[in-house]
């Protein structure tokens, strides 16, 4: 696949599965995104310093649970403004997300075109309401 022009957007990918991190990193890089990937949450200050347009998070990770992480992010002064895209292999993930603010949910195994389209749609640069 050809590397298309940069779309000037940054995504942070957090998943404890190495293969998923690798393939999603390649996917977004080839689509022109600037990508930072982690196997666990890198902490608020590092996340904030990377100035992401989208956070792509796995819900079920070892260590900090998806629920705890999402709750903490939506309470955070700056990071609460960053769209949070949750990916999960849980069949009924929607019920786990009740009461949590997320921009979209992508079920694993996902379609790569769909994932890219959703990430672009929810990204901070395409969503004026979140940046205001």
């Amino acid at each position: 696949m050809e590397n298309i022009l940069s779309n000037d957007m940054t995504i942070i990918i957090i998943d404890d599965d190495e293969a998923i991190v690798e393939v999603t990193r390649m996917l977004f890089e080839q689509a022109g995104w600037q990508v930072h990937s982690f196997f666990e949450f890198p902490g608020f200050s590092e996340t904030e310093s990377l100035n992401p347009d989208v956070l792509l998070l796995d819900y079920w990770m070892s260590g900090l649970s998806g629920k705890e992480l999402l709750s903490a992010l939506q309470e955070h002064a700056q990071l609460s403004k960053v769209p949070r895209l949750v990916m999960s292999a849980m069949q009924k993930i929607e019920s786990q997300l009740q009461g949590l603010e997320v921009s979209a949910v992508v079920k694993k195994p996902f379609d790569i075109d769909e994932l890219l389209a959703i990430a672009e749609k929810v990204s901070r640069k395409n969503n004026v309401a979140l940046t205001s």
């Binding site: 696949m1 390649m26 996917l27 079920w60 292999a89 069949q91 019920s95 694993k108 195994p109 075109d113």
Partner: protein, 284 residues
């Protein structure tokens, strides 16, 4: 002392589950049944069957299936993504066709995992519906559009729904209709249309999926909605759980599902959904 009268079937209540708190603070799961012994004095015999152990085992089994299915889906995610990325690279039409087949097989594997999860929930009675207002016409169009991506040449005709919305679980109703449309596509010739129609019948919406396929033999009708049953056992892959799960979802909504011949050739699968949310039975 008055003699006990002969017991009638109506004297015994339907058994139900209850959680009791013991003095040490632990919980005991019991199945309770009351039997009326003397009508006038309202004397009942109550039976409590402790099912805590089987509940614990059931929970362990459900947790095991839930974790296993999650772990099985994780590598499928990377496999599907890599396969799609390969397809987007410059490959020959033949390789592209092989890769399309791989994606279909990965999706099939994912469906099998979901079916096992659903079966586990049905068996443990934990298949819960997320009640909401469902825009039914929109949902049907969405199902057909999703199939159009995979089967662009199949003609599916959609009738006009007489109501805008009804209560139900959007994803589960999607699953029911997708299963019926998928079967209709699978078991009818490529050049025949599939028709989805709606009708209001008293307090229910009646949705039918009509095909011009091979039809269902009378001997197959009785076992059609049972687990591990297949419409036509030859040349068909899968666990035979699709219609069983579909029926359970419709039952859970308070509707019913069935099939009848579509003369001169083919089948009409139909299901009904109540216009008002089914009341759930509770015991205090």
């Amino acid at each position: 002392m008055a003699a006990l009268r002969p017991l009638q079937p109506s004297d015994t209540s339907e058994p139900y589950e209850k959680v009791l708190n013991t003095l040490d603070g632990s919980e005991v799961h019991v199945i309770v049944s009351h039997t009326r012994l003397r009508a006038k004095k309202k004397i009942f015999l109550s039976l409590f069957l402790n099912v805590s152990k089987s509940k614990r085992l059931e929970q362990l089994k459900n947790d095991f299936i839930s974790i296993t299915s999650h772990e099985l889906k994780t590598p499928l995610t990377s496999m599907r993504a890599y396969t799609q990325m390969m397809q987007k690279a410059e490959v020959s039409p033949q390789i592209s066709e092989y890769l399309s087949k791989m994606i279909k097989l990965i999706d099939r594997q994912n469906s099998l995992i979901n079916e096992l999860l659903d079966l586990s929930k049905i068996e443990s009675g934990t298949l819960e519906l997320k009640w909401e207002k469902v825009a039914i016409q929109k949902l049907v169009v969405q199902v057909v559009e999703d199939f159009r991506v995979k089967f662009p040449t199949r003609k599916v005709v959609i009738g006009l729904c007489p109501i805008q919305q009804l209560p139900g679980d959007h994803d589960r109703i999607y699953q029911v209709l997708a299963n019926l449309v998928s079967n209709a596509i699978k078991y009818s010739p490529e050049n025949t249309p599939i028709v989805i129609e709606f009708a209001l019948q008293e307090n229910f919406l009646h949705i039918s999926v009509k095909d011009r396929g091979v039809g269902i033999k009378k001997v197959e009708l009785k076992k059609l909605f049972l687990r591990y049953s297949r419409i036509h056992s030859e040349n068909v892959q899968g666990l035979g759980l699709g219609l069983f799960i579909t029926k359970k979802i419709v039952d859970q909504h308070g509707g019913r599902i069935g099939v009848k011949p579509h003369k001169p050739k083919g089948s009409i699968f139909f299901f009904t959904l109540p216009l008002k949310q089914k009341a759930s039975r509770k015991h205090d």
